[in-house]
């Protein structure tokens, strides 16, 4: 049993590696890695080395952005699910992603109007606003659903979905108010895309995702305890209150940074943990690290599809939703309702 499990995991890791390589190779035009290597060895200046230059300035940053985004969203999904003890909690169903997106847009509008500068409270305004909104959303949803001793999962999800809708109508409003020349960019961003150029977005993503991911991964054993029973966990020395605050903050921060950089990309935080759980079982010590890998690889694969599916670029958010939506409905059909009476 465990041997089969580990071979499946090994196969997944191999496949992920293949996807990453494919993501470097395939695009509007396929790149020959051999050619890029020759250009590198010959120390050709970049402007005379077309293959190497596309690889370095487009494919690698883009692949890294997809990996970081997918890994971060999958891990955020895992963490929210663990914390709220509910398999449907994700950055999207809780409204965190939409609120973050609203915050990011508000920052753009305010910057256009000259009300705020590029930095706010010492952080880049866009990320800062995204985080403030995402954090406020999480907190509000949580408070709405919590009673003294327990949190109601159904209230939580309904509150989250409602907050998400409110945030979306807020986004519509900012869209309505935005300068016409912003609209094109705004619409493109709202559909999500990891088609970054250069390394600046990658560095922002890395700075936001990596520390949060390390922190969250370090909570895996505590999530196992907490998921089994909050009281038993506390008895075994898990500081439940601290765990909740830390997860809320890091989960929201990570989501906010991702959303503000690549736009809202739906369903990754839902389908990846669910699929990975089938292989690893519910224990977070295995589930969370593997979700990071699979999430990254999944978004990479979606991004390859985004480049190849239609002439031009298909927004990646549309692709993940087209895959994730039916998957979600499939889950709804398959699950026993008693599973949710938690």
């Amino acid at each position: 049993m465990t041997r089969i499990r580990y071979s499946v995991i090994a196969a997944i890791l191999m496949l992920s590696l293949l996807i990453v390589v494919a993501s470097l190779v395939f695009g509007t035009e396929s790149l020959s890695m051999l050619q890029a290597w020759r250009e590198w060895r010959a120390q050709t200046p970049l402007y005379e080395a077309p293959t190497l230059s596309i690889l370095l300035t487009q494919r690698i940053p883009r692949t890294l952005a997809a990996l970081l985004t997918g890994a971060g969203l999958a891990l955020a999904g895992c963490s929210f699910q663990a914390l709220l003890r509910n398999p449907l909690a994700t950055p999207y169903t809780l409204g965190v992603a939409s609120s973050g997106a609203l915050g990011a847009w508000l920052a753009f509008i305010l910057m256009d109007a000259g009300w705020i500068g590029g930095y706010f409270l010492g952080a880049p305004s866009v990320q800062c606003f995204a985080f403030l909104f995402a954090g406020a959303d999480t907190l509000l949803v949580y408070l709405l659903a919590s009673r003294k001793t327990r949190t109601s999962p159904s209230v939580l999800l309904l509150a989250g979905v409602t907050m998400g809708m409110l945030a979306n109508s807020g986004i519509m409003l900012t869209r309505y108010l935005a300068a016409p020349e912003r609209l094109m960019m705004m619409d493109r961003w709202l559909m999500g895309g990891v088609d970054v150029l250069g390394y600046k977005p990658v560095i922002t993503l890395l700075a936001g995702v990596a520390p949060c991911a390390v922190l969250l991964l370090a909570q895996a054993a505590k999530f196992d305890q907490f998921g089994f029973s909050a009281e038993v966990a506390a008895g075994r020395g898990v500081h439940v209150g601290r765990l909740q605050v830390l997860t809320f903050l890091t989960g929201s921060l990570m989501t906010a940074v991702i959303v503000s950089e690549v736009g809202p990309i739906g369903f990754v935080g839902l389908i990846i943990p669910h699929s990975v759980r089938v292989i690893t079982g519910p224990r977070h010590t295995l589930l969370m690290p593997l979700s990071v890998v699979v999430g990254g690889a999944f978004l990479c694969a979606c991004d390859i599809a985004a480049r190849k599916l239609l002439p031009g670029e298909t927004p990646i958010g549309i692709i993940t939703t087209l895959i994730g939506g039916p998957f979600f409905l499939f889950l709804l059909m398959r699950r026993k309702f008693t599973d949710w009476e938690m």
Partner: protein, 265 residues
């Protein structure tokens, strides 16, 4: 070395103004079983939560071997004291063995990795509670009584010195209930200190060295040996009902029964 957990005049209120416990004194000694009894809502579960540091008393103090409980780190405390709550509701399903392995948490590092020795302890605890044959079953699919025994195994896997058990036998049949109390007695002989909440006054009388009787007004109405605590007037006052006490047919300990309201016999 034998360990002692002591509560000195602790009071607690979930909401300001309505005390759930008032000035309760209690000690749990290595080698002894202390029974906590009293009517529903009298504060027994709350008392256990205070004793293991999940709640902090608003007045009074809880000391472990003469040191304030709050001065211990979480894992340090969990290696000394294990707490079995009245009920658990897992958010996901685990196998019985995985559940027992969760008990090793206080001995693991950040990654939560288990060593061979941890698995060995988990296996031993399954044997001790007579649940080896459930080893690979899904915990959620067990009967209420089977769950309680597995939970007890997972608490024992913490290898604590003191056990705080909240109604560990409420779902057990009479045979398994007696088995669990026998296990507790063996553990006490090995030096464990045990505090157990139970509604089964007759078993409490047989197995507990000392009893604490909480009353509906959230104070300790009586404490001492079962013979001292389990008397008709004390029990009737605590439960607000007519309680009769006789003698157990073969254990010789008090035998308690409630007389139904208006049921003249």
């Amino acid at each position: 070395m034998s360990h002692t957990l002591e509560a000195n005049a602790i009071s607690y209120a979930y909401e300001a103004g309505s005390d759930v416990l008032r000035a309760v004194n209690l000690s749990v000694h290595g080698g002894k079983i202390t029974g906590l009894v009293g009517p529903n809502g009298s504060g027994k579960s709350t008392l256990l939560r205070l004793l293991c540091g999940l709640l902090r008393p608003q007045q009074g103090s809880v000391m472990l071997d003469g040191r304030p409980l709050a001065a211990f780190s979480g894992k340090e405390r969990a290696r000394m004291i294990a707490f079995l709550p009245q009920s658990v509701n897992p958010a996901f399903s685990l196998s019985v063995f995985e559940v027992v392995c969760l008990g090793r948490y206080p001995y693991t590092g950040v990654l939560g990795a288990l060593r061979g020795q941890d698995l060995e302890v988990a296996r031993r605890c399954l044997r001790d509670t007579g649940t080896e044959e459930l080893h690979s079953r899904d915990f959620m699919s067990l009967s209420g009584g089977e769950r309680q025994r597995v939970l007890l195994a997972s608490i024992l896997a913490q290898e604590p010195r003191l056990l705080l058990l909240d109604e560990p036998t409420s779902a057990l049949d009479i045979h398994h209930e007696a088995e669990v109390f026998e296990l507790l007695r063996r553990l006490a002989h090995q030096g464990y200190g045990i505090a157990v909440v139970t509604h089964d006054l007759n078993l409490a009388a047989q197995y507990c060295g000392a009893l604490i009787l909480l009353s509906q007004d959230h104070t300790v109405l009586a404490s001492g040996s079962p013979g001292q605590v389990l008397t008709e007037d004390k029990l009737s006052a605590a439960y607000g009902a007519v309680i009769r006490v006789g003698t157990h047919p073969f254990a010789g300990t008090p035998l308690v029964a409630a007389q139904p309201m208006g049921g003249a016999q």
